[in-house]
Amino acid sequence: MSNVPLLEVTNVNKRFGGLKALQDVNLSLETGKLHAIIGPNGAGKTTLFNVVTGTIPVTSGRIKFLGTDMTNDKIHRISRRGLARTLQIKSVFANMTVRENLWIAAQSHHGVFSPFKSWKKCVRSVEMADIICEQIGLTSLADQTASNLSHGDIALLEMGLALATEPKLLLLDEPICGMGPAETEQTVIKIQEISKSTAIIIIEHDIEVVFKIADEITVMANGTVLAKGTPESIAANSDVRNAYLGDDDDD
Amino acid sequence: MKSRKKTEIQEVIQDNSRRSFLKKTLTGGAIASAASLGLMRDVFAKESGPIVIGHHAELTGGFSSWGYWHDKCAQAAVKVINEGGGIAGRKVVLETEDTESNPAIGARKLRSLIQRRKASFVVGSVHSGIMLASIPVATELKTPYFSAGEATEATGSKGTRYSFRTGTDTYALAAAGAPWAVENLGKNWTMIFPDYAWGHSHHAEHKKLIESMGGTVNDPIAVPLGTKDLVPYLSKIPEQTEVLFSVFFGALSVAFYSQSKSMRLDEKMKMYSVSGTIEAIDPRDIDGAAEGVFFLENFPRPLEYKDDEYHKRFIEMMNIDSVHAEEIGSDRIMAKSHAWQSYENFFALKAAIEMSGWQRDSDTPGVIEALEGLEMQNSLAHPQGSKLLRAEDHSGMIDCFISKVEDSKFVVKKRIPRDEMIAKLPPRYDFRKMSL
């Protein structure tokens, strides 16, 4: 098992009309590590997440998850293989309560086509929802409608939705975007906790956080992988400094 | 299949007669078991109060220009009857429901007339589709229903013992007009008509007759009801056509005449039609588009071709002029060939009710038996003329007229007396075989 890479992206290209969003991206990520992807806006980070989760089809290339080819699989199939993600623009099921949100996420992998059973009797998912609620710290708000939550709580619920599907790999797209320092700190702790049991790939702008928590960092720019390595090696890479931290030596 | 249906009907009817027997013998008990004060009130009301007759009319929708006259006729009839002491001494109350010229709504409104407005008899719709949708309802609710639509099925394959028609159907119209038209207008016919029962019925009946007389009938042209533009249909009329037989109504009819005129079809062929096509339309209004067209009518438009006291009084009642049948003070033209039925049918009912000694709804079978074979004499009650409501197929035997539009006036070219009609069209059904 250990010699099979968790996620293997081979020569993936994605074009939007004339725009090359991803160019020959190759990535091989091992299990048991917290990976981070960084890069400037428009580098193709979110596009990479999108093709990996099947939200958009690749133009060419292959994507393997735990050794199985899942290039251009249907989104829900990929999810059921154990790949969950959060979205940069937080989106939860606004008119459902927190508990219902988590319940459906848990139930979605156990089948929803049982039209005559009361949903409250699907004990396994009900319990799962409670566990996740506790884990993300929203138990006190469990019966609130999601649309009544604060920005930070929605971000937490978003992560809860992904967790409730019991993923093998969790893709987090800017999970602390828009949070204050206190919230950020809590969330980062949570992410670290989760990473003990679940593999995580995180896209984050906050370099400090990334360097603090990541075991391995991939830097992307202009649709290509610029560098990959330990935080230390990345910090020392001058290409990375140029591409990401701004053209240092203008004027 | 046919036989099974018949036995079903018989069984339903037996079931009913058992019930009426019960009612007669155990009146008190039966009423008590109805357990409803409302029901009891109804039963008594019918025995002494006014007689409710429903009118199922096209007040709105595509047939509203006809419905206006049917309504006016019905009101005039009830007025005349009530001024003359009512029916069997009981006042007549007229209840009207608008069918909106829509079969689906019409069937619903008939239920409303009978069940809500408590009509014991219904004088019905001139719309063939509504009529056909209504007959099963009227039969189920055991209420005599007079229709005025021309589709032959109402007194034919889809007729029942409860449906009557004093006017002509397509069968009668074909028998009345086709022989003369084949002889005088030409032998090669093309028929164009709207795609619903009325049109198809005309086509079927005429085709049979014309072919039996050695004529040729080309492929028919059925125009969908919502059609806006007739050019695609008119351009399909074969060149060799000698007689163009059309059946339309209302706006489509005007469209047909103006369009065919502008396409100069009238120069190539003779145009022949039935009264329905020109009902409620004034030839003066359509810029001569109807000039030279032959029409088969039930009732001549000008007074002069049936110049008697009753016709004159009827015209006065309707407040129309004696040449164009135009309402005085408005520009409405009376739908004269059909609307008279909504007047005369009340008198037919009056005669039958009085003959049978009808008291309440359970006596209705007597009225039906009285209506079967009812003879009506030319009178104020029957200004269209003497007629017979034939016992077998419940259809009216009346005089017909062939007119030609000359100078925007209707000129009668030929009168077909009802005796001739009776001889030419033997009954094809006998509803008396259905028990009541």
């Binding site: 999810s79 996420a105 979605s108 059973k117 009361s118 | 079931d15 079969p103 239920r111 589709g129 969908p224």
Partner: protein, 331 residues
């Protein structure tokens, strides 16, 4: 009174009224209103089918009349052309509608938003025109009247819908069964999945829900409910007609559903009831009552897009919350 109590009380009142209507209504108004109430119940199913799609999976169908029409024609054609008995014709009509929903749905639910609304109209128009021109089978513009076969017959004894009370309770039973079915489905995992898809289809797919299949299931279920309504209405009116397949009928159903309140189980009954009673009462008083209907529709959309049911629900919840918070802050 708590929210659930209000609901329970309202539901019981509705059930009680429904069961006693044939005796209560003639005392209050007249016996024809029993028929009107039957009609309301039948039409409410069509509105409920719109509600299932709009209120629970978030798809605005403007073509539910198609399945209503199929249910209707199934019964009429079954009786007239195939000489079927009551039950076989009824089941034939419903199966036809459900089958059609499966075919139409497999194509239609690929689309969402405006496109979905348009394609449902287009599908219903295709069959509307087909029904109009396919005269030998459908009766074209005249429709297809038929004589109702008996429901049960033991030799001489026949039970038919010509018996007014029997007809009423037959309709109540079938409509009631449909609502029970909808209740069960809505409260099942499948029903939760419907709502999830309505709330956010992209997210629903990401947590592993097969959005297409869920939408298709909802569509077929809604088609089935509309088909039952159509089959019942054919039996009730002893008549089938293409005019019931026109998009105006679908539009009316959408209006009833919206005025009643989408996303609530009984909203459609309230909306349908209100609009039909309005029609019955106003149409005889004022010829142009439809003007009021039009205005009511627009006002509802502008001011109460969640309809009467939604407004009631919001109000009940608000009251409940206030009481709750008062309790919280109490000594």
């Amino acid at each position: 009174m708590r929210v659930t109590d209000t609901y329970k009380f309202g539901s019981w009142l509705l059930v009680l009224f429904t069961l006693t209507a044939p005796w209560v209504l003639p005392l209050l108004v007249d016996s024809f209103w029993v028929d009107i109430y039957s009609e309301i119940l039948i039409w409410s199913l069509l509105a409920a089918s719109v509600n299932l799609l709009l209120g629970y999976v978030g798809l605005l169908s403007f073509g539910q009349a198609l399945f209503f029409g199929f249910g209707m024609y199934g019964v009429a054609i079954g009786v007239v052309k195939f000489d079927l008995g009551f039950w076989s014709a009824f089941i034939f009509g419903i199966s036809l509608a459900t089958g059609m929903a499966a075919i139409a749905g497999s194509l239609a639910v690929r689309l969402t938003w405006h496109y979905f609304a348009i394609i449902t109209v287009v599908f219903s128009l295709i069959f509307y025109f087909t029904a109009l021109s396919w005269k030998p089978i459908t009766g074209g513009d005249d429709g297809l009247p038929f004589t109702i076969p008996p429901i049960i017959s033991f030799g001489d004894y026949k039970l038919t819908m010509t018996n007014a009370n029997f007809q009423y309770f037959f309709i109540v039973t079938i409509v009631g069964a449909c609502y029970w079915l909808m209740y069960r489905v809505i409260n099942s995992p499948l029903g939760r999945a419907f709502v999830t898809v309505r709330e956010n289809d992209a997210r629903a797919a990401l947590i592993g829900l097969n959005v297409y299949l869920i939408r298709l299931t909802a569509f077929i279920f809604a088609g089935f409910i509309a088909g039952v309504a159509g089959a019942l209405f054919a039996l009730f009116g002893r008549y089938a007609s293409a005019s019931y397949m026109f998009y105006h009928v679908s539009g009316e159903a959408v209006v009833w559903a919206i005025i009643g309140g989408v996303g609530t189980l009984f909203g459609p009954i309230v909306g349908t009831g209100l609009m039909i009673v309005l029609r019955e009462e106003l149409s005889s008083v004022w010829d142009h009552y439809l003007l009021l209907v039009g205005v009511a529709v627009i006002l509802t959309v502008i001011f109460a897009p969640r309809g009467i049911g939604g407004a009631f629900k919001a109000l009940a919840e608000k009251i409940a919350r206030q009481q709750f918070s008062r309790k919280e802050s109490g000594p």
